[in-house]
């Protein structure tokens, strides 16, 4: 009985010692070493099977990457088709939102009215807000309008750095010409909303 249990202890200690070097990958791997050790302990019994499984996983991974590339290519072509079909350049208007300036504030929502009709209302997640603060630009609306001037109203809701709620609305005129119209709504802190024509 004692011998059986000792064998178990010896086995555990052997694999604990042999595995760490391979299992450690980063800080997180310090934590997941256990799982890997357990798996390796089992698979070590049959190295041929283990190699086969690894080859199979690698082969599948490559095929998954290939299909990802195929689907991305389809998505790009569909983007072009969609734009041509749904938003021809003659009538296309796209409205973007970006954040500028050093003032820290939490953006909760942005609502956009074009020609008196609400065309977008977006509630921001933490990740989206972070992406805006890093310099990303969000396309909040894309649609079609006739050439000429169009009233644009932007309403912004959020919290200041001090935690106070704020709500701000600004009205602009957007002149649509022959080509696609790209309008960037720039939120500079909690107080300033400006519009940039592209």
């Amino acid at each position: 009985m004692n011998k059986v249990l000792k064998v178990i202890v010896v086995a555990i200690s052997v694999f604990l010692l042999t595995l760490p070097a391979y299992a450690e990958t980063a800080k997180e791997q310090g934590a997941q070493q256990t799982a890997k050790a357990e798996v390796k302990k089992e698979t070590a019994k049959d190295p041929v099977k283990q190699d086969l499984a690894k080859e199979q996983i690698k082969g599948l991974d490559e095929q998954v990457q290939e299909i990802k590339a195929d689907v991305l290519s389809i998505a790009t072509q569909l983007n072009r088709l969609e734009e041509k079909l749904l938003y021809p350049s003659d009538t296309q208007i796209a409205i973007f939102v970006s954040v500028a300036g050093a003032e820290k504030f939490r953006l909760d929502a942005v609502a956009v009215e074009l020609d008196g009709k609400q065309v977008a209302h977006h509630l921001y997640t933490y990740k989206e807000l972070e992406a805006l603060q890093k310099g990303g630009v969000q396309r909040i609306h894309v649609g079609n309008v006739m050439t000429g001037e169009h009233p644009l109203q932007v309403k912004v809701m959020g919290k200041t750095e001090g935690g106070a709620d704020f709500q701000r609305a600004e009205s602009f005129k957007v002149a649509k010409g022959i080509g696609p119209k790209l309008v960037e709504v720039v939120l500079t802190g909690s107080k300033t909303i400006t519009v940039k024509d592209w």
């Binding site: 200690s13 010692l17 997180e28 310090g30 799982a35 798996v39 089992e42 991305l72 389809i74 972070e130």
Partner: protein
């Protein structure tokens, strides 16, 4: 265990933040490039690659790309699209991600950061040679926050390639790195042990095992160092040393169960079975799915047996047997459940994807009993990589189905547009032709008038500016003049006619300047009107073209898209079950291994019960004899 998984999940999630931390250095010139970054910053790699690919594609088709707003960002965009592909775990050797990253025309630190991510991806995908080759391409400046992590990765990769001495050398230089506190020491210890420097290796493990830190990651690696060193000493029958080291492991950490088990064995190794009861009793009350706990269920009665408390020992063996039986049933049900596909269903639940701690939550799902035994497996890289592939394939499949629906909608839209425009256009075209010829005529007239007026600036022609009334009057006078000779009789008619002609000529001559000015004003007004007319004409032509373009020329594109989508769906449909089978096989292997282990324990427990009863009987018999 939950904590272990949490640490893993948190650290895995940092990969999103690490990748693609690229903001345009000189301000944004292309709003769509900004949109691609917006998606990339959120780890939405598919959307970011797709957006940037669309932009790059449009840019490359331009006649004068230098005038395009993407032009100033071109180098960065080409680099980023490769970098985003790495984020999307696409690193095929022949893939553009690698060439984009390695040959990218960006500044050294950014390029090196991307190569680091590439190497890490290779390493995570168990391709240490490729990882090493990628790391060897790093030249020059490395971003400061990444420097230690890069060297740490290099050491790990060297270890994975069996170059323990090189790894140890690298790790020695990282001993002062605060962010790697514990990890560098532990890995150095392992590298030295693996490289044959037994004593040095132990020393570093021991040193790491005594670190004082409030950082949970450092505490975890400290526990791990103690666990590894403790079991090593135990293996060498150095029970006292092993006990000392294993007792340093926290009672609440992810390694506490195995430490308690080892601590008990260290006592047992020294013949201190009574002391061994303490850690084993604590352990036996913990979550029974843990392998160390299951072993403790056997070790505890074993210790009681050694202490000659056979009754208690037999009772505990009985309890262990019962517990093993239940767990074996649970494992059997779990294996069946996995084979019926419930495991994959549980892994792909939408509500879990919304939660960053989904691996932990999975354990609490009532319909997923198998996950109780799979927490450690699910935290392993091999499993995680396969799972990510499975989830991404599922996602791709959904996208492809949705796109087929989109194409149906596009075709319907085109059909409706054709149905609306086709009957209208011939009539409109006819009317337009008439208007067009009228417009051309008027245009020619305007040009003639303009030329005549311009000529009058140098050669005045007052008669051109006579009013309609004056012209009529002059015609009447001419008629009267023709009649006048017949009536020549001195009644003064001829003089009167001549005077009238003179008055008209006078008016025309004296008002010439005013009339000319007015004529030019009228011409300006006419030009403005003509311009407006031209604009409307151009607008009509564009609208007319747009009407045709809204339904013509799409058939081939849509047909080709359909074919590509169908082909991709076929591939996804073939790959998804294969990837799923791998996950299921991993799970079933793990569950089977655990079941076999419990079955062995069951056999051991049955023999031990019988042995305990025998010994108890013998002891009682001896006692009676003694009395």
């Amino acid at each position: 265990m939950s904590r272990l998984i949490l640490i893993l999940v948190c650290l895995l999630s940092t990969t999103v933040a690490l990748a693609a931390s690229t903001a345009p250095a000189l301000g944004l010139n292309d709003v769509y490039f900004g949109e691609a970054l917006y998606h990339a910053y959120q780890g939405e790699w598919f959307e970011s690659i797709c957006r940037l690919d669309t932009e790059l594609g449009q840019h490359r088709r331009l006649d004068e790309p230098a005038l395009d707003s993407l032009y100033p960002h071109l180098g960065q965009a080409e680099f980023d699209v490769g970098d985003f592909e790495l984020g999307y775990r696409m690193h095929l050797r022949a893939g553009r991600a690698i060439s984009a990253v390695i040959e990218g025309k960006v500044e050294e630190p950014r390029k090196n950061a991307a190569i680091y991510r590439l190497a890490r991806l290779y390493f995570q995908k168990d391709q240490p040679m490729d990882a090493l080759q990628a790391l060897e391409r790093i030249r020059g400046k490395v971003p400061e926050p990444l420097r230690d992590d890069l060297e740490f990765l290099r050491a790990q990769v060297l270890m994975a390639n069996g170059r323990f001495e090189d790894a140890a050398r690298t790790l020695k230089e990282l001993q002062g790195a605060k962010s790697l506190e514990g990890f560098s020491g532990y890995n150095l210890g392992i590298a030295l042990l693996q490289g044959g420097k037994e004593q040095d290796g132990r020393e570093y493990l021991d040193r790491t095992g005594q670190l004082v830190s409030a950082n949970p990651s450092t505490q975890a690696i400290r526990d791990k160092s103690n666990l590894v060193l403790g079991y090593k000493l135990l293996d060498e029958n150095a029970g006292a040393g092993a006990k000392l080291v294993l007792d340093r492991v926290r009672l609440t950490g992810p390694f506490s169960n195995r430490a308690l088990l080892g601590s008990g064995w260290a006592d047992a190794n020294q013949g201190e079975f009574e002391r061994a009861l303490v850690p084993w009793s604590i352990l036996a009350r913990r979550e029974v799915t843990d392998p160390a706990v299951q072993e403790a269920l056997l070790a505890l009665p074993f210790a009681y047996g050694k202490l000659q408390i056979y009754g208690k020992s037999a009772l505990l063996y009985g309890q262990a047997l019962e517990s093993f039986g239940k767990e074996i049933d649970k494992l059997g049900a779990s294996i069946a459940s996995v084979q019926e596909g419930r495991f994959l269903e549980a892994l792909t639940r939408e509500e879990l994807k919304q939660d960053s701690e989904w691996v932990v939550k999975l354990r609490n799902l009532p319909q997923a009993p198998e996950t109780y035994y799979l927490m450690e497996l699910m935290a392993a890289h091999d499993f995680q990589e396969s799972l990510k592939n499975y989830l991404e394939l599922t996602e791709l499949g959904k996208r492809l189905v949705a796109w087929e629906g989109d194409l149906d909608a596009f075709e319907e839209m085109i059909r409706q547009r054709r149905g609306y425009y086709q009957p209208l256009l011939p009539e409109i075209d006819q009317a337009f032709k008439q208007l067009d010829s009228q417009m051309r005529l008027r245009q020619e007239q305007r040009i003639r008038i303009e030329k005549r007026l311009q000529a009058m600036l140098t050669a005045p022609r007052p008669d051109y500016l006579a009013t309609a009334k004056e012209r009529v009057a002059r015609e009447e006078i001419a008629r009267l003049e023709q009649l006048a000779p017949k009536n020549a009789g001195g009644d003064g008619t001829a003089e009167r006619v001549a005077r009238l002609r003179g008055v008209i000529s006078w008016n025309i001559a004296t008002e010439y300047d005013r009339r000319l000015t007015e004529a030019f004003d009228d011409l300006d007004s006419l030009i403005r009107e003509t311009q407006r007319l031209k604009q409307r004409y151009a607008s009509f032509v564009r609208t007319r073209q747009a009407a045709t373009q809204s339904y013509e020329g799409y058939d081939e594109t849509i047909r080709s898209q359909r074919e590509q989508i169908a082909a991709a769906r076929e591939k996804v449909t073939a790959l998804l079950p294969r990837q799923g089978k791998i996950l299921e096989a991993m799970a079933v292997d793990e569950l089977t291994r655990r079941r076999e282990r419990l079955e062995q324990f069951q056999v051991t427990a049955r023999f031990a019960i019988a042995d305990s009863y025998d010994r108890a009987n013998k002891a009682q018999a001896q006692k009676r004899v003694g009395q």
